[in-house]
């Protein structure tokens, strides 16, 4: 667009002296189109991605602001298809209650690598705001977030191809899923202080939080998150570093983020549900043949009672056939959750599997995304996928935070939950047996090999010293403590 304007300008500058103003307009339009931000004429605003920068293939924060509007609906339409498969539409719909004043709506939306992404905000049949993004904006590189009065000063701490984005502290959400596409968060204390909950959510969500230099007294809460220097928190960590680009760069280089996509894949590697088995064919055929013969004989030799007997036999066999052949439910559901813990917090990665026998829609509560390419809809009622007959889908639920039941404390493994944890296994150390509720145990070399193939798969993706255990409906992971975390790695 800019190039086109420049060519025209060469030939028509004399006739149209007001072109520079138009150039600025075009520049502004291009700049707005390049980010996932949009503002309507009525003060309605939609921001997708942290600081308006979305990360493809990750959960992104979504913020909608409307002013003095009636009930409003946000519709997002993402085409994640390709040349081979054609369009594959992912839809998201959210309802915002109306009212006077400013209404703000926050959520997290999974944005796949897309061809087009369009959104519109509709209120009472009127479009308040709308916008769209093209495939070029589908950047899958994680964000490196800087909260600083002088973010440019930290640019050199990151690789040249890193997506560094400066975000104002109040814009940091306090939801772990919002940081799915964030690799690191650097806070140097020169800008307004972010909420402690936001920073904790960023760390627990899997980001490396760097607290650079001496933070002002007003940000003492943040400093406490780092403990005496570095502290695990959920899937990430909080680390204090000197206020130098070199120190920050080294800390970032040393950080090895868990591959949450691989963990989810390992979690869903074996099917959670299986399609029901039909009754054996010989049995069905034998019964059917016997029935047919009996019906024919009854009709031939039974007269009126024979007809009645045939009808009764047909009814009885129908009821029996129904009870024997009918699978227990039209939709078979199962789920598995992995709680990746560090310190007191754990990031919950859940997969839900749905297998539908009749063709139709399967749903899970809350926001989720299918692990296989499927069109789907997320709305207030959950996430819905249309499936053909006897087909299943595995969905990854939006990451969530919880209390870590299995954790390292003082160099010992502790079960802080209320139920016993079974088959505790430490990567590189072997099996540790069961751990009763409230009990703790020093990690010692144990029998080699994980208790289950699932644990073995997960263990291969986690660092040495990571503890895994089976709990009721959940698998617990305690990431190994750091040296300054009150214990030594096993």
């Amino acid at each position: 667009m800019l190039l086109l304007w420049a060519r025209r300008r060469a030939g028509g500058a004399r006739r149209r002296p007001h072109r520079p103003a138009l150039a600025w307009l075009v520049l502004v339009a291009v700049a707005v189109a390049g980010s996932a931000r949009g503002q309507g004429a009525d003060g309605a605003r939609v921001i997708l991605g942290l600081g308006g920068k979305l990360v493809a293939g990750a959960w992104n924060p979504l913020e909608v602001t409307v002013r003095d509007a009636a009930a409003t609906t946000l519709e997002v339409r993402i085409d994640e298809g390709d040349l081979v498969t054609g369009p594959r539409i992912v839809r998201y719909r959210a309802s915002l209650p109306g009212g006077s004043g400013v209404s703000v709506f926050d959520d997290d939306l999974y944005v796949p690598a897309f061809q087009t992404l369009s959104w519109r905000l509709v209120s009472a049949g009127r479009v308040l705001a709308s916008g769209s993004l093209g495939a070029r904006e589908a950047d899958g590189r994680p964000l490196q977030v800087v909260v600083s009065a002088d973010p440019g000063a930290w640019r050199a701490a990151y690789p040249s191809d890193a997506r560094v984005v400066d975000v104002a502290a109040p814009e940091l959400p306090a939801r772990a899923a919002a940081y799915d596409g964030v690799a690191s968060l650097l806070i140097d204390g020169t800008a307004a202080s972010p909420r402690t909950a936001s920073v904790a959510a960023a760390a627990a969500g899997g980001a490396e939080v760097l607290l650079a230099g001496a933070l002002p007294a007003s940000q003492a809460g943040l400093a406490r998150l780092a403990g005496s220097g570095v502290s695990r928190l959920g899937a990430g960590e909080v680390r204090r570093v000197p206020a130098s680009v070199g120190a920050a760069s080294r800390a970032l280089a040393d950080w090895h983020e868990q591959d949450r996509g691989a963990l989810l894949a390992a979690l869903a590697a074996t099917p959670l549900v299986r399609s029901p088995r039909s009754a054996p064919q010989p049995l069905v055929l034998s019964l059917a043949a016997a029935y047919a013969l009996l019906a024919l004989l009854s009709l031939r030799f039974g007269g009126t009672p024979g007809v009645l007997a045939t009808v009764a036999l047909a009814l009885v066999l129908s009821v029996a056939g129904w009870r024997l052949m009918r699978p227990p439910a039209a939709v078979i559901s199962a789920g598995r959750t992995l709680m990746v813990g560090g310190g007191e917090l754990a990031l919950g990665l859940s997969v839900a599997e749905r297998l539908t026998l009749p063709a139709g829609e399967v749903s899970v509560a809350g926001a989720a995304r299918p692990l296989t390419p499927e069109p789907y809809l997320t709305d207030a009622g959950g996430t819905h996928v249309q499936l053909p007959r006897w087909h299943g889908v595995t969905l990854a639920l939006r990451p969530s935070l919880g209390q870590a039941a299995l954790r390292y404390q003082g160099g010992r493994l502790r079960n802080a939950g209320t139920t016993a944890l079974r088959d505790v296994y430490v990567v590189g150390m072997g099996a540790q047996g069961d751990l009763a509720a409230g009990a703790s145990r020093a990690v010692a070399p144990g029998e080699e090999g994980a208790a289950s193939p699932m644990m073995a798969r997960l263990g291969a993706l986690l660092p040495r010293g990571t503890a895994l255990a089976e709990g009721p409906q959940r698998l617990w992971v305690a990431l190994p403590p750091t040296i300054t975390d009150g214990g030594t790695p096993p």
């Binding site: 299986r274 399609s275 088995r277 039909s278 009754a279 064919q281 069905v284 055929l285 059917a288 043949a289 029935y291 047919a292 019906a295 024919l296 009709l299 031939r300 030799f301 039974g302 007269g303 009126t304 024979g306 007809v307 009645l308 045939t310 009808v311 047909a314 009814l315 066999l317 129908s318 056939g321 129904w322 024997l324 052949m325 009918r326 699978p327 039209a330 026998l357 009749p358 063709a359 139709g360 007959r389 006897w390």
Partner: protein, 209 residues
């Protein structure tokens, strides 16, 4: 003689029993071919239901055409005997439906075949009368399947779901159901009405083997 005993007498006749035996054998064959040997999707109902519907339509139309010149009481008994075919094949339908878990509600394939079979029986009778008027009685054996094929072809060509028995059970199709109900009601009236005029021949017709 009650209607039930008339039906029982008609049902034990060789022509009816042979047709029923062939019909049940065909359903057994579908079960043998389509029932899954191991795990995986059970698609039996999607083959069995159209087969059953098509065969019932053919049998009903055939008997309706063959009995068009018979006394009304015998026609009623034959219609009842053909409905016994529907009842006798219900366990096949229900068992395969249960195992296949189709999206169509169970009441549809349970109720529709009764209406449909009776409607096709009446259609067969009407076809035979029409053939007689056109002096085409000799071709009646051909006209019955040809009429069904033509109806199916017409439905497919026009994209309608009115007469085609092959697709009628697969999804709830109200136009088809309404047409079948209309045909069945008209046929029932036709079967009942001349009965009064030909009451004298009732006993003779019903006692025929």
């Amino acid at each position: 003689m009650t209607a039930l005993s008339a039906v029982a007498r008609r049902a034990r006749c060789p022509d009816v029993l042979q047709a029923l035996a062939l019909f049940l054998a065909a359903l057994l064959f579908v079960l043998a071919v389509r029932w899954p040997g191991g795990g995986g999707a059970n698609e039996t109902w999607f083959a069995l239901a159209p087969t059953r519907a098509a065969l019932l339509a053919l049998i009903a139309m055939g008997f309706g055409a063959a009995e068009a010149r018979e006394p009304p009481a015998r026609r009623r008994a034959t219609a009842g005997a053909v409905l016994v075919f529907v009842v006798a094949s219900v366990p096949f339908e229900v068992a395969s439906y249960a195992a296949s878990y189709p999206a169509v509600p169970l009441w549809w394939p349970s109720v529709l075949p009764f209406i449909e079979t009776f409607a096709y029986f009446c259609l067969g009778t009407a076809l035979a009368r029409a053939a007689a008027l056109a002096r085409l009685d000799a071709f009646l054996t051909l006209l019955v399947p040809l009429t069904l094929i033509a109806a199916t072809w017409l439905d497919v060509r026009l994209g309608l779901d009115l007469l085609n028995p092959l697709t009628s059970s697969q999804s709830v199709a109200w136009p088809h159901a309404l047409l079948m109900v209309a045909l069945a009601v008209a046929g029932a009236v036709w079967l009942a009405w001349p009965g009064r005029r030909a009451a004298a021949t009732d006993g003779e017709g019903a006692s025929a083997p």
